[in-house]
């Protein structure tokens, strides 16, 4: 992964942080977006390749019902987001994944499309999971309005006024998606159909292209509704205010098992970020421009933390810690000589000793910012082809597998999986919701439906049975006798080559917090403003601050991720 030839500044060799440090849920639940986040990777590419955007169809009526399309045209291919706008009564507005109606529904079509496609999609997309899309579609999604903010902004614009940023910032979006499905789901094209396209290098690029275009649709909708109400007085949003509106997302437990189910992919994500950190820590001497950018961004990150308000006590405490961390960090860098040799490495070490996990991981993200030439190329490594079967090496000796399990799952040694607390939870899929959920093993009749999402417990069980075999026996024989250990055996053989592929924490413990899993994944997406609504679902904001399609050519998306400094915000 590490490539010294691409890193001429690398004078020392900071080791990557070990998986035992990084892959703990408390730390993963403190990750922040970074240069390597997939939204930023997407916008950098679209800008670099000078993609063009237009809105071929806008057939939305005065009630906000109809169809619109947004087209993205790149060097080789085009994609079209098809948006269906609906009139949804307030009492049907549910963020739960089992909802049956939404304010708007979307699909990303592969290429340009004709009226026959629109007709076909109109008969399916509004029904979401109950409809079917085709191999010509890449993504299926839907969104609901933030009624409060949508109506407020529409009213302001109708009166010819701009909305107040103080009203916008705490919410951050006009609509929030409640699911964004890709990779073959509900009939969409399989990932391998488009995985080799350069515009989709990395992870979740079709999904995030959809979300970014959805953001433009939400703005067009609110301006359209304002103009419908008051055609004589209505105005459009001013660019600076508009840019502070992102797209929301409401995410629950459905996303949590992802990190456990995709060890090779998670390894690729984390390894890229850790490699980037090690490269920056290796920088011998920072330039004055790099230092100035870093210092500016630390201050803007502090503003971001000030604007981050949540009701949930766990996250509220973490944010409070983060604010204190950033204050301490600002004080520390004011007294430090950042132009000294290996100042970044020293700063990181100081943070480990003095800041909370939130602050440490915020610093990691900030340290990457001044170094596009060391960091950005790593984005291309952040994917994994998981479609091929990982074939178990049956010739491996029992002793070898035992050694691998003992090493990867050494943290289970202290755990007693016969105790209630260590196995209090069960990951299962409910018949009612067809979505992953987390239940209480000793309070509900769900253990028979358990999903294989407790690698630590399963590894320890396998270890117990392995001890009854001769160390020189082959795993093939062990698995014939114990097919129930086949899943964890495959996993251990895979993860031995993927350091960061396994979470070093008990995913069925009584005190496990699913929002830590969600936060980790969403930070890699590039989400901000994590707003836990309980310990198992949350809302986030995506693309807040980012350029819109009509301004991407003239703005630098990476410069807009953190909120602007105070002076320029006083509009």
């Amino acid at each position: 992964m590490d490539n010294q030839q691409n890193n001429p500044q690398r004078a020392q060799h900071t080791p990557l942080r070990p998986a035992s440090q990084v892959m703990r849920l408390a730390r993963m639940g403190s990750f922040h977006q970074s240069r390597l986040s997939f939204m930023r990777v997407l916008l950098r590419r679209l800008k670099r390749e000078n993609w063009q955007f237009d809105r071929p169809i806008w057939r939305i009526d005065a009630n906000g019902v109809g169809v619109a399309t947004y087209r993205a045209r790149g060097p080789e291919r085009s994609y079209t987001l098809v948006c269906f706008a609906h009139d949804l009564p307030d009492d049907q507005r549910s963020d739960r994944v089992i909802a049956e109606a939404w304010d708007a529904t979307f699909t990303l079509h592969d290429g340009d499309l004709g009226e026959d496609d629109i007709e076909r999609l109109h008969a399916n997309v509004p029904y979401q999971e109950a409809g079917r899309i085709s191999g010509a579609e890449l993504v299926l999604s839907r969104a609901n309005r933030s009624v409060r903010l949508f109506d407020y902004v529409a009213k302001c614009l109708a009166k010819g006024e701009q909305p107040d940023l103080a009203q916008i910032e705490p919410v951050g979006y006009l609509m929030r998606t409640t699911a964004v499905y890709g990779s073959g789901k509900f009939g969409a094209a399989d990932r391998d159909v488009w995985a080799d396209r350069p515009e989709f290098a990395g992870s979740f690029q079709p999904e995030l292209l959809s979300v970014w275009l959805i953001r433009a649709f939400t703005i067009d909708m609110v301006e359209h509704m304002a103009a419908s109400r008051a055609p004589d007085t209505a105005v459009k949003l001013s660019p600076d205010i508009r840019r502070r509106i992102g797209v929301g997302n409401s995410t629950g437990l459905g996303m949590a098992p992802f990190l456990v189910n995709h060890p090779a992919l998670i390894h690729a994500w984390i390894a890229a970020r850790e490699t980037a950190l090690a490269r920056v820590r290796d920088v011998k001497q920072a330039t004055s421009e790099e230092i100035a950018l870093f210092v500016d961004l630390v201050k803007r990150a502090a503003l971001n933390a000030d604007d981050w308000h949540v009701d949930h006590e766990y996250q509220a405490q973490k944010i409070s810690g983060l604010r204190a961390d950033l204050t301490a960090l600002i004080a520390h860098i004011e007294q430090s000589d950042l132009a000294a040799d290996h100042a970044w490495d020293k700063l990181y070490s100081w943070a480990e000793a003095n800041l909370s996990l939130e602050g440490q991981e915020q610093l990691v993200s900030l340290l990457l910012e001044p170094y596009p030439h060391l960091v950005d190329e790593l984005a291309a490594t952040m994917s994994a082809d998981e479609s091929n079967r990982f074939r178990i090496d049956g010739t491996m000796k029992v002793a070898t597998l035992t050694g691998i399990i003992r090493e990867i799952y050494d943290w289970t040694e202290a755990l007693d999986f016969d105790s209630r607390d260590a196995q209090a939870r069960v990951w299962y899929v409910s018949e009612e919701k067809l979505e992953p959920r987390l239940g209480e093993r000793f309070e509900e009749p769900i253990a028979d439906y358990e999903q294989p999402l407790a690698p630590g417990r399963d590894a320890k069980r396998a270890l117990g049975d392995l001890q009854r075999f001769d160390p020189q026996d082959s795993i093939a024989g062990f698995l014939m006798a114990h097919p129930e250990h086949r899943h964890i055996t495959r996993r251990a053989q895979l993860v031995q080559h993927c350091d960061y592929g396994e979470i070093r924490d008990n995913t069925i413990a009584a005190d496990m917090l699913p929002i830590d899993l969600l936060r980790c994944k969403l930070s890699f997406f590039g989400a901000t403003k994590f707003d836990p609504r309980s310990d198992r679902w949350l809302r986030i904001t995506m693309f807040q601050g980012a350029p819109f399609p009509d301004e991407l050519a003239k703005l630098d998306p990476d410069a807009l991720v953190y909120p602007p400094a105070v002076d320029s915000r006083a509009l």
Binding site: R120, G184, K185, A188, D190, V193, R389, E443, L479
Partner: protein
Amino acid sequence: MTTATHSWSVGETRSLTVKAARGVGMPWGIAEEAGFALDWLVRHGAPGVTAMCRYLSFYATGIEQGRTPVTMPGTEGDGWVCPLGFGTALSDGAINLPDGGFRLREPMILIPFLAACAGSGAVRLTIGDISIDISSDGFHSEMIPHSLLIAEAECRIASIADNDLPATTHPVTRVGSTMTECIAVLTRYAHNTYAPATEASRLAGAGAGLSDND
């Protein structure tokens, strides 16, 4: 809301197969192999969805009747040799290719596992009087793929020289609407992995009780 032109991606059919295999009682690790086998067969132009649908139906009925699937030919007694169990044991290297004939249920399902352990060579699977030549790249038979749908037959496996193995069949990347019935069967078995809702689970939920209108 499906239409006459609807189809399924291979990926979602594979995920459904893993759940269905688990739903009829297979361990997760074997259910994953069922997903692999389905994927390989479909992509190589074989009627893998039908084969898997038929086999999982047979498996579910067999378990209901108290019969037991086994891995090793010759040990089946009142049960049957499971092509997934046998296939994974061959692919793991737990057992060698059998010298003699053996009876196998839905032998098409064995093909992907023979391809996985063919290495740089090739093997011939003989099902009754039908021959299928298999390498890591694919398979070839004189018969059209649908005639390889055989419920149970006497089978043999032999290594062959691979130098004249014809090119593999046309890759298939979608599961078409003719598979609707089979998908429905797989969906029914997959349903066995879903826990019935209880009052407690509704309450605990994934965050029930908060307004979504803001």
